[in-house]
């Protein structure tokens, strides 16, 4: 138990060490989550736009659809 307390105390500097690690974690996790959710929403919009459009041979639009790349 004492060891755990000492670990969180960080030699008296816990108030500076832990916020540094915490803010790094929060910023990077939010960045990842927002990037991922933006990709998903663009994928959805693109799929919807392509569904609403009749495919024509050689129009080029068909070439752009139906890929899943991750």
């Amino acid at each position: 138990m004492e060891q755990v307390t000492a670990f969180f105390d960080m030699g008296g500097y816990g108030l500076f060490v832990w916020p540094s690690f915490a803010i790094s974690a929060v910023v990077l996790i939010v960045l990842y989550a927002r990037s991922q959710s933006r990709l998903k929403s663009v994928e959805r919009e693109l799929a919807a736009a392509q569904d609403g459009r009749p495919r024509r041979a050689g129009s080029g639009a068909g070439e752009l659809s139906g890929e899943s790349l991750t």
Binding site: M10, S20, F21, L39, A49, Q50, S59, T70
Partner: protein, 244 residues
Amino acid sequence: MAIDLHKYANPKRFLAITGAIYPWSVGVTVILLAVGLYMSLFVAPPDYQQGDTVRIMYVHVPAAWMGLSIYTMMAISSAIGLIWKHPVADLTAKAAAPIGACFTFLALVTGSLWGQPMWGTYWVWDARLTSMLILLFLYLGYMALWESFDDQGKAAKATSILALVGVINIPIIKFSVDWWNTLHQPASVATMSGPKIHSSILIPLLVMGLAYMSFFVMVLIIRVKAEILQRRLRILRMSELKEH
């Protein structure tokens, strides 16, 4: 309306390659972060002068490295976009900017959290800190400039020029600690005579650096893909408008 398929050849190949790399980047990021955090919090010794605040360095220095390298990469990408009109180059720079901004922000905040107990102040207008703050503003200005154009071609051009002009700040940041009398300490890893710090500190630092790099690759792949698909969507909608 005829769509120039040649234009998609590159992005398509790009997506295929990055799609294959992505799962690896996730695995490598998770493993390196786990090892790096364990080493920096449990294995690395406290500094004889700084005590446990030295652990802040393990999230501070890699963030600063990434802030600088991502900007350099954006400037190179922008130059490629301007000169060879490579269709993915501009989008890569655009996708990288928010990641670089986050790392730069983290370098500033964690540095400030170390400065208070060690220097006795959260902030000082010394050359290293000020040039790093300018880097953050360059990232934010670059991102704002992309949003201020409707015409994506013009936006790519204007933002590329901004990225290239701003790259002058990178050597200023790097050498600020040698050129001026700063409160910030000079380089101790990337020096001409090799690293000057003990391996018990250097190894966790390098592991965290690699973890951040891998995290960057992972998020960049996601963001570039979103940019490419967004552009397809825009072209698709424009061609529909012209048909109706």
